[in-house]
């Protein structure tokens, strides 16, 4: 029983780490640009597929390093060409546009790489369990958790210790003033979008090592990421991180006791948060 519980808590932590990684990217874009990026799951899939294609040339580690940057580059281009035109307009339009993008990316990946699931090879020494008694704790899972943790720490260091991060945080509060102070807001939003998409691409590479690759790989991750943002509170990145881990672990623990409710508990948490605290656990009053 304890092993089972431990197994599912670890599992929940890993899933939660994915949710958090996705949700942090979504949240960055949403906070600064007011755009809900429906295509986030699509960018995640591109990350996985690009890594798959690059692997024969660069090896696993090279692909893990390069692929998210390529995805971020695509994200920056998409922002420049399409999303930028919609800033300041009704959020309806950016939602519809990214919605259409999600369709196109899903169909595009299916066209290029095929509809069937592709195997994604991770280095074999990473796939082995660490010890016989904790059979579920493969090196890959530990590695994933450590990597996500360090990326998240890195993200918060960027946000709190660099000039770019300072501008992003300031822009979240009051973009107009930041612009008046001489910051190029267009570039700022562009970079910020790229940063968010980078996180999606990274999550894509990591997730394909665990779940395999299908064009719809992002679909199952994007809804919980929305919920992570709602639970954590709009406008708060630590809240988003907490929300992601919370719903991941909660659904992991529920799997032990009531497997069929493991999805439902996520939505129950969201409903409870909306009743008790509509702005989310760490959200600011009156932001939305």
């Amino acid at each position: 029983m304890t092993t089972l519980l431990l197994f599912n808590v670890v599992n929940g932590l890993i899933i939660g780490a994915f949710y958090a990684l996705m949700a942090l990217g979504l949240s960055l874009i949403l906070n600064l640009s007011g755009v809900i990026n429906f295509a986030h799951g699509g960018f995640l899939a591109i990350g996985g597929y690009l890594a798959y294609t690059l692997m024969p040339y660069l090896g696993y580690w090279g692909a893990l390093l390069v692929s998210p940057f390529l995805v971020a580059f695509i994200g920056v281009a998409v922002e420049r060409v399409l999303i930028r035109r919609l800033y300041g307009r009704d959020p309806l339009y950016s939602l519809l546009l990214t919605f259409g993008l999600a369709f196109m990316i899903e169909d595009g990946t299916r066209f290029i790489w095929g509809a069937q699931s592709l195997p994604f090879q991770i280095p074999s020494w990473l796939g082995a369990p660490l010890s016989a008694s904790l059979f579920f704790l493969t090196g890959y899972r530990v590695f994933m958790m450590l990597l996500v943790a360090s990326v998240v720490i890195g993200l918060f260091l960027i946000l709190n210790r660099t000039r770019l991060g300072l501008r992003i945080r300031a822009g979240t509060l009051d973009l107009e003033t930041v612009s008046v102070l001489g910051v190029n807001v267009r570039v700022l939003r562009n970079l910020n979008f790229g940063l968010g998409i980078y996180l999606a691409g990274l999550a894509g590479v990591l997730a394909s090592g665990m779940l395999g690759l299908q064009p719809t790989v992002g679909d199952n991750l994007i809804m919980p990421s929305f919920i992570a943002i709602i639970v954590g509170g709009l406008g708060s990145l630590p809240g988003t991180l907490f929300g992601g881990v919370l719903i991941g672990v909660a659904s992991g623990v529920t799997t032990v006791f009531l497997p069929s409710a493991s999805e439902a508990v996520i939505y129950a948490i969201m409903a409870a948060v909306l009743i008790v605290r509509p702005r989310g656990l760490f959200g600011e009053e009156g932001r939305f």
Partner: protein, 316 residues
């Protein structure tokens, strides 16, 4: 000038809708496409009650559409093989769910409202997907069909006569449209417009804004679940795709494409969208890309929709 145009527009819309089954086959199409347009038009008009006339963006209407569909299908299959009873059950189910969820989200605005409607919409997708013993999971609810309408003195065979079913759907659309138009013309509807135009001012005037948004939400979901009941009757089948989030997106794009600020806009949007989709999906396997591209192009170049464009032309 505009007043005349509007009445002429109404007449034109109804003339086209009422004669469609006779000229659609002649154009190489089929009656079912017309039926689909009528059903989706009702769904998009219901969404537009909220989106265009209350100014609140819902991206989760597929949930209530799907609840209407599942309620009807399950009632006819297991409880009572009667079309009107099934429709009633489906509509009640969808409206009740909306009424329960409404208070949770009526306080939220803008992007936050949209996100929460998406997330709550997904709840029902998961239920439809995972409650296999009841909903059949991924396979959907099949092995049932709609029943002819028994009016006592005569029966209307909407099962085998596809034109009769088309006109049945048109009748439901007409009744729903009339009800929505009546509501929008009433003081209640004017209050919704006031909220759309300036929520803060409406609040200062003592209007209970959250309660009005809740009511508008429930009314909108009521009509969308009516559309859902017709949808499942048309297919004699329902599966979780009817509840999925891409369905909600379709409703929104129809409303936008036709023109959110006009009453008949969503109908025109539904017609254009479905005819295009029908054409593209019969010519290429990659129709999803085209639909996605269509979304992008509408947002970039056509945000006011067809009727918005016409209206601006006639105003200038």
């Amino acid at each position: 000038m505009w007043k005349f145009d509007k009445r002429a527009g109404d007449v034109l819309v109804w003339a086209l809708v009422l004669t469609a089954p006779f000229w659609l086959p002649a154009l190489g199409s089929y009656v079912e496409l017309g039926t689909r347009v009528v059903i989706y038009a009702l769904a998009a008009m219901a969404l537009n009650f909220l989106l265009g006339y209350t100014g609140v963006l819902s991206f989760g209407h597929a949930a209530y559409f799907g609840l209407g569909a599942y309620g009807t299908a399950l009632t006819i299959k297991y409880l009572c093989p009667s079309t009107p009873v099934g429709m009633l059950a489906g509509t009640v189910l969808g409206t009740a769910a909306a009424a329960l969820i409404g208070p949770l989200i009526a306080r939220l605005r803008g992007v936050y409202f949209a996100m929460c409607t998406i997330a709550f919409g997904q709840v029902f997708y998961f239920i439809a997907f995972q409650w296999r013993s009841l909903t059949g999971g991924d396979d959907g609810v099949s092995a049932w069909h709609r029943m002819p309408l028994d009016l006592g003195f005569t029966t209307i065979d909407i099962l085998n006569n596809n034109k009769a079913f088309y006109y049945f759907c048109v009748l439901v659309l007409a009744a729903s449209a009339a009800a929505m138009a009546y509501l929008l013309r009433s003081p209640f509807g004017r209050t919704l417009l006031a909220i759309r135009e300036n929520e803060r001012r409406a609040r200062f005037l003592g209007i209970p804004v959250d309660r009005h948004i809740w009511m508008s939400w429930v009314i909108s979901c009521f009509f969308v679940s009516v559309a859902g009941t017709l949808f499942t009757l048309m297919n004699d089948f329902v599966d979780p795709r009817a509840v999925r989030w891409d369905q909600s997106g379709n409703f929104v794009i129809m409303a936008v494409l036709g023109g959110m600020r006009s009453f008949w806009g969503p109908l025109i949007g539904a017609a254009i969208f479905l005819i295009l989709q029908d054409y593209v999906s019969s010519h290429t396997e990659n129709w999803m890309s085209f639909v996605g591209l269509f979304f992008v192009l509408i947002v970039l170049f056509f945000p006011r929709g067809v009727l918005g464009l016409i209206r601006r032309k006639s105003a200038s």
